[in-house]
């Protein structure tokens, strides 16, 4: 007699007919329990997913579908574990069958006394198996016993289906959130790529690297495009500042080269400086420093005059009283010249000129050597400048994407199109974002690149960077030709965003969402006022501004001009 029944009676030698009857019941019990757990798991899943979906209808919940799917996996795991752990023992099967088949505890008693000696247990087993054989196992474990679970599953599934089929009011917000995250992610990638680029090519570009580090940190903490925009704008400023130093140095070198044309022993230097070839200029300066002692006193005086003029043209402070100062003082003056490589270079030229004029050739030679060192260092930095320009371009692109997305968020239009800048973007101009509350009254605009939208806003602004106002509904804006045809659009009460820019692609300081702790430079509104005024007046001509408000716009710009 085989006996593989699970449970506490597995060590008993049970009569074959009883084993057979119990095995049939136990198989059915396993299937029944599996069905029960499956229904329970599915009902839990559907209920949980319905809750998640319902929640997602009221609050934008990114990844709600993923959470629902995760709940499903969890429910399946719980159901499987529940079934495995709660598989009924043969004793339990017998007792349940007794109760459901009205066997009057025959099966359970037979199981308990199957191996007992005597006539009565034998008769009991025979009676129990005979009575159990009159029923099908399905009668003990009918499908209808799961009706409540099935109902719960049906109700949950119906609820879930309804929630899935009905439109999600938060879809727009979700799309915006998704787009926001994509923009922030893209900005991070841009900054990381820039950092790697600088790090690989210029191990010494510490200043730029620090700026990139800070920007990356800020981007990692950014939750909105506005915050990303703030980080990118700050980075852009710092990069621009670095690039500006290099530009000034090159300009100073060119001016100095012009002044040195024809100076004795400095023809090659003049040529190198005029071509802003700092590496060659450094070599020529060193050569000139060596050759000073060979020049005649007249040539030295002539060279001193040329150097003095070159220093002036390069931006060194006037040296009228230079003759009255000691070499030490002159050297100190050169060292205390305004910061920046251009000013330093000019100061060193001026010091050399003064020393030469004073007949201190050695001193002049030293100053020229110092200038050569500076030029050499700047020559190295020049290539960094090119890299910085590339980085700046990338950051600018990311910045424009963030600005577009921020604007899209404000307009309630979801994701702005990315990666295909419009004509205005190509022109290098970026007009004020609509929420920049320059102007007042009603605004209506249509975007050409990032998005389209309409909105009404009552904005009041006192110029760039200081706008405040209220809006009703979203605001549409575009980055067309850079003209501020968005002026007057409303903005969200809590957001103050504007992106600088003006026609021609000139660098502009960017204002931003000014969180506490941020200190950024702003641009004098007079620098951008003409552009704004022109755009506003164009708007009047194209009937963008309501007739009732046209005088208001005219008066506003008139008052600003005064």
């Amino acid at each position: 007699m085989s006996n593989d029944l699970r449970g506490q009676h597995s060590d008993k030698r049970l009569p074959q007919e009883l084993v057979w009857a119990l095995r049939q019941l136990q198989r059915r019990a396993y299937a029944d329990r599996a069905l029960g757990w499956a229904l329970t798991g599915l009902a839990l899943w559907a209920g949980g997913a319905a809750l998640v979906m319902a929640w997602a209808k009221f609050s934008p919940t990114p990844g709600a579908a993923s959470v629902a799917a995760l709940l499903g996996i969890l429910a399946i795991a719980v159901a499987a574990a529940g079934w495995a752990y709660h598989r009924p023992s043969v004793s339990e099967v017998a007792r349940v069958a007794d109760a459901r088949l009205n066997l009057n505890e025959r099966l359970a008693s037979a199981l308990a006394f199957a191996d007992a000696p005597g006539e009565m247990p034998r008769r009991l087993v025979a009676d129990a198996t005979e009575r159990a054989g009159e029923h099908r196992p399905a009668e003990a474990y009918p499908l209808r016993s799961h009706s409540r679970r099935a109902f719960a599953l049906g109700a949950s599934a119906a609820l879930l289906g309804t929630l899935l089929l009905t439109p999600n009011p938060q879809a727009g917000a979700l799309a915006r959130l998704s787009a926001d995250q994509a923009v922030i992610k893209e900005a991070k990638k841009t900054v990381i790529a820039a950092k790697e680029r600088l790090g690989h090519s210029h191990a010494g570009a510490a200043q730029a690297e620090t700026a990139l580090e800070h920007a990356l940190l800020a981007l990692q903490q950014a939750r909105t495009p506005l915050q990303a925009l703030a980080a990118l704008s700050a980075l852009q400023q710092q990069l621009a500042s670095l690039g500006q130093d290099m530009s000034q140095l090159e300009a100073a070198a060119a001016a100095a080269g012009e002044a040195l044309q024809g100076a004795p022993g400095a023809s090659k230097l003049a040529q190198a400086l005029s071509g802003a070839n700092l590496r060659a200029a450094a070599a020529d300066l060193r050569q000139l420093a060596k050759d000073i002692s060979r020049l005649s006193p007249g040539q030295q005086r002539e060279l001193a005059k040329a150097l003095e003029q070159a220093a002036k043209d390069a931006g060194a402070p006037a040296g009228d009283n230079a003759d009255n100062q000691t070499g030490q003082a002159q050297s100190s003056a050169a060292q205390s010249a305004p910061s920046g490589p251009a000013a330093t270079f000019a100061g060193q030229l001026a010091a050399a000129a003064q020393a030469l004029a004073a007949g201190r050739g050695t001193r002049a030679s030293n100053d020229l050597s110092s200038a050569a060192d500076g030029a050499s260092a700047s020559a190295q930095a020049a290539s960094l400048s090119q890299e910085l320009a590339a980085v700046q371009a990338a950051v600018r692109n990311a910045e424009s994407q963030a600005a577009a997305q921020a604007q899209a968020d404000a307009s309630g239009k979801g994701a702005a199109r990315r990666g295909s800048p419009g004509p205005g973007q190509r022109g290098g101009a970026r007009g004020p974002v609509a929420r920049y509350a320059t102007g007042s009254g009603r605004g209506r605009s249509s975007g050409q690149e990032a998005m389209t939208g309409q909105g009404e806003g009552v904005g009041r602004g006192a110029g760039p960077g200081n706008g405040s106002g209220k809006s009703k509904g979203g605001t549409g804006a575009g980055t067309g030709d850079g003209a501020a045809n968005n002026a007057g659009a409303g903005k969200q009460p809590s957001d103050q965003v504007f992106v600088g820019g003006q026609p021609g692609g000139a660098q502009q300081v960017v204002g931003r969402h000014l969180a506490s702790g941020y200190k950024v430079k702003t641009t004098n509104y007079k620098a951008v006022l003409p552009s704004f005024e022109r755009t506003a007046l164009q708007g009047l001509g194209s009937q963008v501004v309501a007739p009732a408000d046209q005088d208001l716009v005219k008066n506003y710009f008139s008052s600003l001009g005064k």
């Binding site: 007792r95 007794d98 009676d127």
Partner: protein, 357 residues
């Protein structure tokens, strides 16, 4: 002054018992086959049914108590056939039958028997004259009318199945059953049975009024010239064999557990019925579990089964517990009877928690 010598066995007391031997081992009876059991029990019930109209439940419960070796307290108003029922059992089972009408002036010796001086050729001697308790089936009619002293005389007989008189303990005949009756009305001048003695009754059965149809049948049968004459369908040995078979019926642990939980639930502090502690002074004793299981076994056999079911336990609950659940004044004042509490208990105690899941 003569010494009380060991009394020789009595030679008969007129109640169908041949002797009242001193205490000795009781020979074990071989269990009867289930088929024979079914045949005999059916015959007994049928034969009694010739005399007792209706009252099938009462007859079955009495038979169950007898098969389980227990004593029965029958409670009912006069005229419901209690005495007839007991007498019928005596005849059908061919058991020695005696009847004692309990009255306030009854003496213990009137029940147990006494030693008397007898004189013959050999001289005088003390002989034990067995009382009516020395019978297989003793009808203690209106048991609550006798004094406690007499009632207590039954204690030893009912529990130990022995009687001690004059320093000699004598075994009562086997089988030995006491079927006592009491009248729930006319309680003036009665001596309610003490709890200890109540507990010794296996069952307390309420004798119901017959239905109108049964009344008509009673009238038909008893007002003519032909009186039904009962015949014996079983002997005392059969009763012993049936009792042995009853005891061999297996009880699964979960069924036994139900009986235990049911009895435990009668005790205040252990009951799942919230109102029970407020109405019950004392719950049932361990004898209740014994009675419940034994009666369930007998009931299972009567139902043709070879195992005890929850249903058997439930069916015996009232008869076993109603005289063991002692209600307090609040219950009496509120009209809450033990039977009502038992109904609540049966309802509240889940028979099989595993199957109920």
């Amino acid at each position: 002054m003569g010494q009380h010598s060991p009394t020789p066995p009595a030679q008969g007391n007129g109640y169908g018992v041949a002797s009242a031997p001193p205490l000795g081992p009781v020979p074990a009876e071989k269990p009867m086959s289930p088929e024979k059991f079914a045949e005999l029990t059916a015959a007994v019930q049928e034969e009694i049914g010739r005399l007792i109209v209706g009252q099938e439940d009462l007859v079955r419960d009495t038979l169950i108590a007898l098969l389980a070796g227990g004593h029965v307290l029958l409670e009912g108003v006069p005229g419901l056939g209690k005495t007839s029922l007991v007498r019928a059992f005596g005849r059908v089972l061919d058991l020695g039958f005696s009847r004692v009408q309990f009255t306030p002036d009854l003496m213990p010796a009137d029940v147990t028997g006494t030693t008397v001086i007898t004189e013959d050729e050999g001289g005088r001697r003390f002989d034990f004259q067995p009382g009516p308790v020395f019978a297989n089936l003793v009808l203690a009619d209106e048991v609550n009318r006798a004094t406690p002293k007499v009632q207590s005389a039954l204690l030893e007989a009912m529990q130990e199945r022995t009687v001690t008189v004059g320093g000699t303990t004598r075994r009562l005949p086997d089988p030995f059953f006491v079927l006592a009756t009491q009248n729930p009305i006319e309680l003036e001048g009665t001596y309610p049975l003490p709890e200890a003695q109540l507990d010794r009754f296996f069952f307390k059965l309420a004798v119901p009024y017959p239905s109108p149809a049964e009344l008509a049948e009673i009238a038909r049968r008893t007002t003519g010239n032909d009186q039904p004459q009962l015949s014996a369908v079983a002997a005392a040995s059969d009763v012993r064999a049936m009792s042995a078979l009853v005891r061999s019926v297996p009880v699964a642990d979960h069924v036994l557990d139900y009986a235990v939980r049911l009895v435990s639930a009668t005790q205040p502090g252990r009951s799942p019925v919230p109102e029970l502690p407020g109405y019950v002074r004392f719950g049932a004793s361990p004898r209740a579990v014994q009675a419940l299981v034994l009666s369930a076994k007998a009931r299972a056999l009567l139902a043709g089964r070879f195992n005890v079911a929850f249903e058997d336990v439930r069916a015996s609950a009232h008869a076993v517990l109603r005289h063991r659940v002692l209600v307090n004044f609040e219950a009496e004042a509120d009209g809450v009877t033990p039977d009502a509490l038992i109904d609540r208990l049966v309802e509240a105690v889940v028979a099989d928690p595993v199957a109920a899941r």
